[in-house]
Each structure stands twice: as structure tokens, then as C-alpha cells.
Amino acid sequence: MDWDVVIGLEVHAELNTNSKVFCSCKNEYGSAPNTNCCPVCIGLPGALPVLNKQAVKYTIKAGLALGCNINDIAIMERKNYFYPDLSKAYQISQLVKPICLNGGIKLSNGKFVRLNRIHLEEDAGKLIHNENIGSLIDYNRGGVPLIEIVTEPDISSADEAVEFVTKLRNTLIYTGVAQCKMEEGGMRCDVNLSIKPKGSETFGTRTEMKNLNSFKMIERAIKVETERQIDLIEGGGKVVQETRRWDDVNEETVAMRSKETSQDYRYFPDPDILAVTISRQDVEDIRKTLPLLPEQLKDKFVNEYNLPEYDADVIIKDKEISTFYLKCVELLNEPKQISNWLMTNVLAKLKDDTLQITPKQLTDIISLVLNRKISKQNGVELFELIWGTTDDALKIATNKKMINDMSADELYKIIDEILVNNPQVIPQYKTEPDKILNFLTGQTMRQTKGKADSKLVREYLINKLK
């Protein structure tokens, strides 16, 4: 029996505001428990929510980056349920009038994954379980603004899901509205999954897996849950609509005891928060603040800079890299050269380090190489030396005597001399050209203390030895 997998995602991302969404407490990760709190976010009697302007603007900005329509009125609603991390026993979220509707992301296989909505809501606090003491509740995270991005059930595989979340995360980081640090819980993914016989129109019963907060977890959980549902149905059983927890240790999904299959959240518009009107002018003003987004940058790189798609994909993966790259190209109009250095040298360093070279430093080095003032090898050495410093490329190159102050004629004279001193190479060249070229180039580099431009040397030699 062949099966279709039907997946819908609900992704939560914490917004990058200074204060929480309904109070002025600091929005900050890692503070000591219950030190970023006030009457509002700990749910004291008499406390009232006051909506954060920036949270609304950021939600609109995220929606615009993802191709959404922006509603002209936004209503905050109460979602009522009891859980210790929810101080008011209701979460303020959105239901009938979310800020953003529709939109979507195109995957590399051509599929367009549609969004249903993006809405604004508040995060809950944190429960820390301690076997000896009990569960401890920290409300620092309570009230942090979240956007919830809900997809239609358009995703069909773990790979598509991972690609979607990757592209979503990258887009959000580019807009600046969210940092999406998954290890800090800055982005969490809920997966709704069901299976149906291949080609069937009827959806199966779905299960929900909550709070998957790494790409690996998303991929594994989808694969494991898909298998579990297939095995279950093929074995004559039925999928139960339930919430399942991902057990990372045993690599399995486990039904959660405490969550009922269908909670009645008794949503109603929050009477403490007035409806917010969003004008078309508001939307346009926010649209103007959008930077170039990954896909737009990719177009620019491929069509304007003539970069191969592969290069473009690598550069846009990280906002810091693409911003760095764009600055370099502004300083030195050699997009392909810069891309090469970026992908080879810079990315290698970034495996263990943060970005510690400036666009000016890198483009200075590349200029020196392109203008044949220093050899490529020296350029690479200069790159290593300059990394992590504020030094000037030309200064270091000069101090290290890397500058090729030889004229072409002077270089040729040295090569001619080497040829004269190594007459045996001339007949050998006919049978082993590469070996001889390498030898002669090596000799030249040694004679010139690495300053010679090896490309120039080889050109001259090839000509000479013809």
C-alpha cells in the first residue's frame, strides 16, 4: 500500500522587541527566574494588558516578507485553559481577525507551501522540573511576543518540512523581526501529521507533535511518526487524534497524558484590548522598511552579478554573510572573485569562529591579488594574518615583504635564468609538462620569495617552452 503523508506546520517565533507584548518588562533570554516580571505578566488581580506597537509592526513586517495580506483590523482574543506556565489561565492570542492571512513559501522542488495565517500572541512562562523539589515556574518568558505562522497541509515529506522551516527562519532573520535562536527556544515547531492512501481525497486522522526545536528533531519526528501511523493502520488499527511528545532519547513519539484530544478554549475577544485598525498607509510604511529578502537577493546575485545558483544559495543562507558580501561588492566590483574568497576562505573560518574580517580588509586583499601586487598564496596568508585584527591589508603586506615590486621584465629575467640553470627540463617538458611546470614555478616562487604571481609565471613558461 502506498501512502501520502500530509503535513501542516505551526511555527512559533519570538519577536525581537525590547519589551514584552502586553507590558513593559524586558524581553530578554537568560535572566534569573522571575526578574523580568510585573503585575501584568504574572497575572496579578487588577493587572491589564497594554499592547506593544512594535510587536504589531513586526508581525505585519513578517507577513509582508512572506507574501501575506494584512487585515485592516486586528482583534486580540482570550484562549482559556489551565496550565501552571500560563499565569492568567488564558493566553492572549488571535482567532477571527489575525493580523496576516495567506502568503507562502516556494520550495526548491517547485511546490508552493501556502500559509493560512500569521497571528500575534504571547508566550507562556517556563516550567523547570526538579525531581527533588517539584516543578518550578519562571514567568520571565511569560508575555514575550510570539508570531504563530500556520501553514496549510501542503507539505508531503520530512525534507520539505525542513526546507520550509529553514527558508521561513532565514526570511524572518532577514527582516530583523526575530532572531530565531532555536537553542534558546526562539523558534519552535509544531507538526500536524496524517497519512492517506496515495491519491485519495480524504484526509486521515492527524496527530500533533509539539515544540520540536531543532531541524534534526523535525526531520526525525516526522519520519518516525509517519512510520508509526503506517504500521498502525496496516496492522488494522486506527490513528487517534492526540498530541504526542517527541522523545529524543528513544527516538519515538509518545502520547501526552495531560493534554485532552479536544480542549474547549472558549475563545472570545479580549475586552481589555481595543481592536487595532491597520491602514493601507501603515502597511506601505512598513513595507518600505523591508530589506532585500533571500530569494530576492538570489535573483540579484544570479541575474545581476552572474553568480552560479550554487554560489548564490550559499551566500543567502545567512544574513550576516549576505550583508557582508553586498558590502564587499559595493567596495570592489568583482562579485565572482569575492564570492570565491567568501565560500572558500571565509566560510572555512566561520566553522569555528565568528566573522572577524571587515569588507574593506577582504576587498583590499582581493584587489592586491587581482592587481598582481601579491601572489594568490600570499593573499591567503595575508587573509589569515589579518583575521581578528583591525590592521590594514597593504600595511601588513608591505611589512611582510609580500608586495611584488618586480616588473614583468624582471620576473621574466629570473625565469630565464632558472631555465638556463636547468637545461634538462626542456626535453622533459615534452613528456611530463605538468610536472616540469610545477617544478619550474616552484623554483621561481622560491627565487622571488613567494612574491611572484604564479599565474603569470606559468603563462610565461608555457609560452617559452612551446
Partner: protein, 477 residues
């Protein structure tokens, strides 16, 4: 000092004729002597010290606020930093407020003295102040009768001269009805006029803090001090606050006074009706024009209220869970029991009833028929009032059609108690201001209240008419 008014007392304190310390001591003494009324749950132990500070300012000729030295009692659902706030509930019996409500803060900033906290129906749910952890509050004129509710303690305290003024909260009549029962003056202002920050929420879209006083002018002064926009309350109105005292002109020439035909139907044949007609005739004789108006769907305001208020209340009371600050049940062994046992112990019967009712009208399957329909009806009733106000400046209602009832006599079925709110809830539903003033006497010479309603932000027009009746209508004395 006896029965002095807020305005008189502040003048006397500012002029040095009376010492604030003496005023505080006088009221503390009265509270002791009339403790059988059970109106004041706690006298704050720093009241005398605060009074001393005011007297010092007077002596040093420092500038003084508009409420200088006035001992004012707040309802037990208003947070005042460092002091207990219990909403007359076992659940909050030990709760100490870590912050101060905006309206309370505004009184303090004008040098008013917060004397203590008043008894109330638990979590403001009730119309008699019988449902309190501290036991019932008695009527100031007849201690076999209820004080009314839910701000029974606040109203009784003013009537019994236990303070010079008080604050209550009004969600369905909880300031106006006890004011009527105790023969004092109580205002429910336009929704959003006063900040709700620091007021324990009952029904968020209906709650308003209201001053309770001995005279209309006192009420106008106190409202002008506490009213106004608050950055901590998104629903507070941004419009500037009027100087209400200056809107009391001493005449009602050409004032268009409306009487609602649907309401007349309800009080025809009751003793109240003849008194109501009498005051209308009086107003006409003094230059007002009487206008019959119709308010469509007003008879549905009460059922509408008993859908919306419990719905919002059930959600607002979810935060009382035995985890963060309410009384935790000691036998609870897991989190489910902490919620369940603590809340079952903590809340009284009426509160539980409203929590359950609220969840019913919000629950899936019933939401559209009840909650959503009630919301649309609320909109409709508000529009009906606006239409009516195109024909008149004020509308006169009864506050209640009868005097305070005997304690314990209304315990048969909940609807019986709810029906007392018939004339007061329309103003909460519509969000418009409404004021109760004593205007006549009923059975056993007990006070009867008349209610003046006006359009949004027209508290000044209300005060002008009320002051006129107070000073010129002899039945009201």
C-alpha cells in the same frame, strides 16, 4: 464633625479649623461603635500617621491637594500597596497588594487619606453584601436589612458616617443599588472614565469604579480627582476630564428629561410609581421638559448582562489557582488537585455559580447562541440609548423599585436576586453614565433611590440635575 461633607471637611482641614488627625480618629471611633454594621473590614494602621503628615503640611503652609485630609474608604477589591486586598473571599484572605490601583493613587496624590477597606459581596458578585467571607454588611438605617451590593460596605460606611466618602465598583448596579438602599449618592461613570488598573476584575467590559458620597457636589469633586486616562488601562478614555463642580449651575431650565415607556410598564402599580411621577411633575414645574422615550430591547438588558458578565468573570477568575498568590489547599498532591481543591475551597457558592454559567455560555456549541448574540444585543441596546438621547438630555429610571430587603429573605432562587438589577444593568450594558440619589422614602421610612442616566461623558449634566433635586425637592430630605 458629625455628618460633615467631603467639601466642607477638606475646607476645614485646609483652613486649620479641623485637624486631619481628629477627623481620622472621629471616623475610627464611629467604626468601632457601629461595628455591628460590619461595613469596614479593616482600618489601615497608618491612617493616623498619614493624617499627621497632612496636618504638618497645613501648619507649614505647604500646598495641599484637593482632598486634603479626607478619610476615604476603598472597597476590598482595590489594590493598595502593602495592604491586604481580599475581595471578601477566603481565597484571598492573606493576599497583600504589591502595587496600588491608579484611582487609589490619585486620591493619595491629592492628599486624601485611605482609611480602610469596605465589606463587599465576594469578588463583587452579588446584590446584597450577604455573600462575604466576613459575613453580611447591614443596612445603615436598619440592621435587619441588607446593605445592598456588591459595594454594600462602601455605601453603608458613608451613610453611617464611618468615613467622609468611599469608592465602590459597579458592574451591574453595585454602586448605585447599595447607595439607593442606604440613602447616599453613587455614580457609575461612562465606561472608561476611571482606570481599572489595580481593580480586581469581575466583568472587564462592564466594571467601573464609582464614588459614593453624602452629597452630589462631593461626588462631583471625588470623580474629577480619580477620573482620566491611564497608560496602564487601554480601555480608559483619552478625553480630558471635566471640572464637574463647575457644571452644577443651580437650575434645570429647558432640561429635557426623558421617561422610558418600557420602564414605566415595569413599575406601574407599585408604590414606587407614584413617587416617580411626583418627582417628574416637580421637575416640570421647575422648568424641565418631560419627554416620553422608547428604548428598544431594554427589557433584554438583564438577560444580556447575565450572559456577558459571567462569561468575562469566568475568564478573569481563572488566575486564582493556588499557585501564585491565592490560598492553596494543603492536601493537594498534584497540580490538578492544586487547581481543583484550592478553587473549590476558595470560592463561595455564588462565585462558583457564575464561573460555571460563564463557561457554559462560552463553550463550543453555545457560544454563538449565547455569548455572540449577547454581544450583538449589547451593541443594539447602546444604539437604542443613543437614539433616545437625541430626544432628551437625561433619562430617569428607578434605581430599585423597593427599599432594602430583609437579610436572608432572597435566597430561594438566583433569578429572584438577579431581577433586582433590572433597572441598573442597562447603563452598564450601554456603557453610559448613571447616578443614584436618594429622592424619597419607602416602607418603614427607608431610603428610595432615583437614577439619572445620560449619554457618554455627560456626568456634568447628571450632577447638575441631581444637585438641583437634592437641594430643592423636599421629599429627598
Amino acid at each position: 464633625m458629625k455628618d460633615t461633607t467631603l467639601i466642607q471637611l477638606v475646607n476645614d482641614i485646609k483652613s486649620g479649623k479641623t485637624k486631619a488627625v481628629d477627623a481620622v480618629k472621629y471616623y475610627i471611633n464611629n467604626i468601632k461603635e457601629k461595628s455591628y454594621l460590619n461595613a469596614v473590614v479593616e482600618v489601615f494602621d497608618d491612617a493616623i500617621q498619614k493624617a499627621e503628615e497632612i496636618d504638618k503640611k497645613v501648619k507649614n503652609k505647604e500646598p495641599l491637594g484637593r482632598l486634603a485630609g479626607a478619610p476615604i474608604i476603598i472597597k476590598d477589591n482595590m489594590l493598595y500597596k502593602g495592604k491586604k486586598c481580599t475581595c471578601a473571599s477566603y481565597f484571598l484572605k492573606d493576599f497583600i497588594s504589591p502595587y496600588t490601583a491608579t484611582v487609589v493613587d490619585r486620591i493619595i496624590k491629592e492628599d486624601g487619606i485611605i482609611l480602610g477597606r469596605a465589606n463587599m459581596d465576594e469578588f463583587a458578585m452579588g446584590g446584597s453584601n450577604e455573600k462575604s467571607y466576613y459575613g453580611p454588611c447591614k443596612n445603615a438605617h436598619d440592621s435587619t436589612r441588607v446593605a445592598g451590593g456588591s459595594s454594600g460596605g462602601s455605601a453603608c460606611a458613608v451613610a453611617a458616617d464611618l468615613c467622609v466618602a468611599s469608592l465602590g465598583t459597579d458592574t451591574g448596579g453595585s454602586v448605585r443599588q447599595p447607595s439607593s438602599y442606604n440613602g447616599v449618592f453613587g455614580m457609575k461613570p461612562t465606561y472608561g472614565k476611571n482606570s481599572r488598573y489595580g481593580i480586581v476584575a469581575f466583568a472587564s467590559s462592564l466594571d467601573q469604579v464609582g464614588p459614593i458620597t453624602k452629597t452630589t457636589m462631593d461626588n462631583a469633586l471625588l470623580l474629577s480627582v480619580i477620573a482620566g486616562a491611564d497608560e496602564h488601562d487601554d480601555t480608559s478614555l483619552r478625553a480630558p476630564v471635566d471640572n464637574y463642580l463647575s457644571q452644577i449651575k443651580g437650575n434645570i431650565n429647558n432640561l429635557k428629561v426623558g421617561y422610558c415607556k418600557q420602564i414605566i410598564e415595569k413599575i406601574k402599580g407599585t408604590p414606587y410609581f407614584s413617587k416617580y411621577k411626583k418627582v417628574l411633575d416637580f421637575l416640570k414645574s421647575q422648568g424641565a421638559h418631560l419627554v416620553e422615550i422608547s428604548i428598544e430591547n431594554i427589557e433584554l438588558a438583564l438577560p444580556c448582562y447575565y450572559i456577558l458578565a459571567p462569561a468575562e468573570a469566568t475568564s478573569n477568575l481563572g488566575r486564582f489557582d493556588g499557585i501564585k498568590y491565592s490560598t492553596r489547599n494543603k492536601d493537594a498532591k498534584n497540580i490538578g488537585q492544586i487547581y481543583n481543591f484550592s478553587r473549590t475551597d476558595g470560592f463561595g457558592k455564588e462565585v462558583k455559580r457564575r464561573i460555571m454559567l460563564g463557561n457554559f455560555v462560552l463553550s463550543s456549541g453555545y457560544f454563538d447562541a449565547y455569548y455572540n448574540k449577547a454581544k450583538a444585543l449589547q451593541q443594539n441596546i447602546r444604539e437604542s440609548f443613543k437614539t433616545a438621547f437625541s430626544k432628551c438630555d437625561v433619562i430617569l429610571f428607578p434605581t430599585t423599585s423597593d427599599v432594602a430587603f430583609i437579610i436572608g429573605s432572597m435566597n430561594k432562587n438566583p433569578i429572584e436576586m438577579y431581577l433586582i438589577d433590572l433597572f441598573t444593568v442597562p447603563a452598564n450594558i450601554a456603557g453610559i453614565p448613571a447616578f443614584s440619589l436618594p429622592f424619597d422614602k419607602g416602607e418603614n421610612n427607608l431610603p428610595l433611590g432615583l437614577q439619572i442616566l445620560a449619554n457618554d461623558n455627560n456626568e456634568g449634566i447628571i450632577y447638575n440635575l441631581a444637585d438641583f433635586i437634592e437641594k430643592n425637592y423636599k421629599e429627598s430630605k
